[in-house]
Amino acid sequence: MKQDLYTYILGIADNNLILGQRLGELCGHGPSLETDIACTNISLDLLGQVRSYYQYAAQLNERLTSEDQIAFMRTEREYLNVLLVEQPNTNFAYTIARQFLYDIFHKLFIQNLQNSTDQTLVAIANKAIKEVSYHQRFSSDWIVRLGDGTDESHEKIQTAIDDLWTYTNELFQLTPNDEQMIKAGKGVNTALFKDTYYAQINSILNEATLATPQSKWFQKGGKEGIHTEHMGYILSDLQYMQRTYPNMEW
């Protein structure tokens, strides 16, 4: 049971870690000072939540017994994040589209995690919900600004939404371990808010004068540790210091 909970926590937290790492790449490279600061602030919130999750997970695992070990000392196949969050910052439209498609899910997920029977997860969720609501406002605002902006911004954000759409369904994929955790009352049954997710996305895309993609063909694999070609590059950046100077600390 300990191992199952450990795996379940990684399934939540790895999304935050990898998305936080992607947003962190924009530090000093954002398209404007304000968006640069916004993306890195969101990254900071996500990494703060990751620390709480990993500190909890570290108490449940025998091999990786600290938050840093969990963050830095796993191989690619051991990361359980969805494919969406590892997609690159191709341009600002992609960064915003990725954030938007994740934030809507993240808020619904955290709202439901507040009803878990696991009190540590509830405490983390109660803290995170305020931050995640703010992220969702930011990314939704930008979807509308870009979609309902100039011809060029409209085209770019539509392309990004169309391209990333194929990664949305995986957010709702339930692994056998997920199902076990749902039965135990600790996990979140994402199937319950899948329709709400797509309805909320649709409503904001409408407001932004954007078309909701109709494609029903979806990618998956991340939740089982099978990642896209980008993941190795992310990890080589993320893990560089710990691999080069094992056990180093700030």
Binding site: E34, I37, L44, G48, S52, A123, I124, K127, A128
Partner: protein, 167 residues
């Protein structure tokens, strides 16, 4: 959730009140509301519980260290624990804290409703801490730290930070 009143041993209050937030040096951690309890056991050992404003607040580690050294200077050994629940809200900033923020040039948080009107609907409700005009606009939802948004005053033209309302 009803936040319970922090439990602070009276003899520790003055010591802890001298510790400030490293990112907002005018604001004592007591006025900030991040200290949730401070107790002394029979061996004169102190346990302090603090709660983060935001999950990723980088100031928490420094605040923990500063608490330990302030207590050590007063002759106490101490452990500092981080607690997440109940989650911090801007309501826990005291009146004195709000005054200190304003004096420092940071607009203190409005009520949750007003905050929404300002951040979502662009209403002009946040008074400029320099000239008090509410003729102000939001420049960015995220400011110099996670807990602040960036504004500018259209009258005195000064940019300023607004401490976001967190409920």
């Amino acid at each position: 959730m009803t936040p319970k009143e922090p439990h602070i041993a009276p003899e520790l209050y003055a010591i802890l009140a001298k510790v400030s937030d490293p990112e907002i040096p005018v604001l004592s951690i007591m006025d900030m509301g991040v200290v949730r309890s401070a107790i002394i056991d029979e061996n004169n050992y102190v346990t302090v519980q603090i709660t983060p404003t935001y999950s990723g607040c980088p100031a928490m580690d420094v605040i923990g260290d500063d608490i330990k050294s302030a207590l050590a200077a007063a002759g106490y050994s101490a452990t500092v624990e981080l607690v997440l629940s109940p989650a911090w809200t801007t309501d826990w900033i005291t009146k004195e804290g709000r005054k200190a923020l304003k004096k420092y040039g940071i607009a203190p948080p409005l009520t949750a409703e007003a905050d929404k009107d300002v951040l979502l609907h662009g209403k002009r409700l946040v008074p400029c801490p320099q000239c008090k005009s509410t003729h102000t606009v939001l420049v960015s939802q995220f400011g110099s730290t996670a807990c602040k948004a960036l504004f500018k005053c259209l009258d005195c033209k000064e940019p300023f930070d607004y401490f976001k309302c967190l409920k």
